[in-house]
Symmetry: C2
Subunit: 306 residues, 2 copies
């Protein structure tokens, strides 16, 4: 059964591969080359679906200097439609809804083939600048124009550590029509386990079935990438951060940690009866880090069906 | 090579079994029976050493009602000398130094056979009530009267989570003559790994060799024992606490968690080059929990020499 059906039925055990679209400035031969090698990589790895991010500058969220400069990227929906034709399996297309006027968003929602595309609607990173469309309004538009389009939401274990109410946000998003979740990049398994535990309890208290959660893993091949992850709000346990800093081979150490976090989460969610899958990505565009992400996905695939 | 020599040389890989002496009210046949079955258990498990606690009421430390009532216990040194003659391998005898006048403590220190006995000196749980002898003074007495008596100190990962300076306390204790550490009961591996990481870094910065750390594991066979652990100041990650609460078999779930924490710490310390061993105990006097502690020790022994 394919990814969209499985997510719709509330099943876990799926493997996703996350992609950031190329820079908006890429064009012609360059863009064809990037898209070509991406499709080849996807066909070889053969995940159940691809996740395509909608990148925001997010200056609002973090006033500190971004370790990698922000460069606008292609629209994920355009990238999928125009450049990833070779990928015929399902895609989960992110929509940073604040970037789009309502009519543009409605039009896009209406056009999606619901048997092959799902979406993750993402609100503004700062409530002071909600942008052109707010998340609740985007959820309404989805219900009105394309209720069959499977819609997911972002879940942030770190927010649960700090505020303790992320499980309630998840259930509120379910009420608003959300049928699966994708986590922020995860390095702190304990934080995610606390969230899943509270989510499971709250689902039980309300008599609601827990929805599938994709845990996002991203390897880190350099201290600059580590710095970028931290800038993005990923909480890396101090001992793990020091492991990466001490290591002669940051990438290998990071692969070990991400593998352990992935196995830990799959095992824990299975024990709790919360459907879970994995979303593997590289937050950097470096070749070695993308290759390591593919390796991580291959290594973790058997554990999805354990 | 025996435990005392190994600790003296700064080596890890040792297995300790922790004992709380019987109630002070036990006597005659009852006491003989308890000591007899304890010695039989020790001989069968054959750890590298036994740890005998010196129990304080610790009302100062936690104003909340103690889940198990406090009952004074036999003096650990007396218990070893008078009732555990069948155990001929090394013993680590705790001394809650605030309980003893200086001359009593000095006399005890002087009498110990340094090839078979080591001690852990423990200060008062509240600085408002230092008791009859303070920890710094006890350390001085040890240096003066019996400098060859191997002396350890307590290390509390939870205190590191809250204050961030436990690694500095460890190094200060080393300067005061301490040659090994025994942790509080450990359920939160991340907290302990953060501490070990900072300890390793500080040892490197000072050009000092890290000393052996015994990580204390204690299974929990009931929610009342869990409550007692929490009362003692043990931080149990929320997801783990809920696992124990949800489980049909608390003891089996706890055994799984303690085993995982033990393996995690041994693996992590090996990677960091910090000598580590295990100290397995039962905080309750229930037979099933003591048996489970013996089982945990047997299961973890092979990992000590991995």
């Amino acid at each position: 059964m394919d990814l969209v059906q499985r997510l719709g039925r509330g099943e876990g055990g799926f493997l996703l591969f996350g992609l950031t679209p190329p820079k908006a400035s890429a064009a012609g031969v360059d863009l064809d080359r990037i898209a070509g090698s991406t499709v080849a990589r996807l066909q070889s790895l053969d995940p159940d679906g691809v996740v395509i991010y909608d990148i925001l500058e997010e200056r609002d969220r973090n006033p500190e200097t971004r370790p990698f400069p922000f460069l606008p990227t292609l629209d994920p929906a355009d990238y999928l439609d125009q450049h990833l034709a070779g990928w015929t399996k399902p895609a989960i297309v992110y929509r940073a809804v604040g970037k789009y006027p309502e009519d543009h968003l409605s039009e896009w929602l209406r056009q999606q083939p619901t048997d092959r595309v799902a979406t993750v609607l993402v609100g503004a990173s700062s409530s002071a600048h909600p942008g052109l469309t707010t998340l609740p309004r985007a959820q309404e538009l989805r219900q009105q124009t394309q209720p069959d389009l499977l819609t997911g939401a972002v879940v942030i274990p770190e927010r649960h550590t700090n505020r303790g109410d992320e499980h309630l946000r998840m259930l509120a998003k379910q009420t608003a029509g959300c049928s699966f979740f994708v986590s922020q990049v995860l390095y702190d398994a304990d934080a995610a386990k606390n969230l899943v535990s509270d989510y499971r309890d709250e689902c039980d208290a309300r008599g609601v079935a827990p929805r599938p959660i994709a845990f996002t893993l991203s390897v880190c091949g350099s201290l600059k990438t580590l710095q970028f992850l931290t800038w993005l709000g990923v909480q890396v346990p101090r001992w793990m951060q020091r492991d990466l800093e001490r290591s002669q081979d940051t990438l290998a150490a990071s692969l070990d940690h991400s593998r352990a976090v992935g196995l830990d989460m799959l095992d824990y969610c299975r024990r709790l009866g919360v459907p879970a899958g994995l979303n593997i990505e590289s937050v950097s565009a470096r070749r070695v880090e993308i290759d390591a992400a593919v390796q991580l996905a291959s290594e973790l695939r058997p554990a999805l069906h354990a």
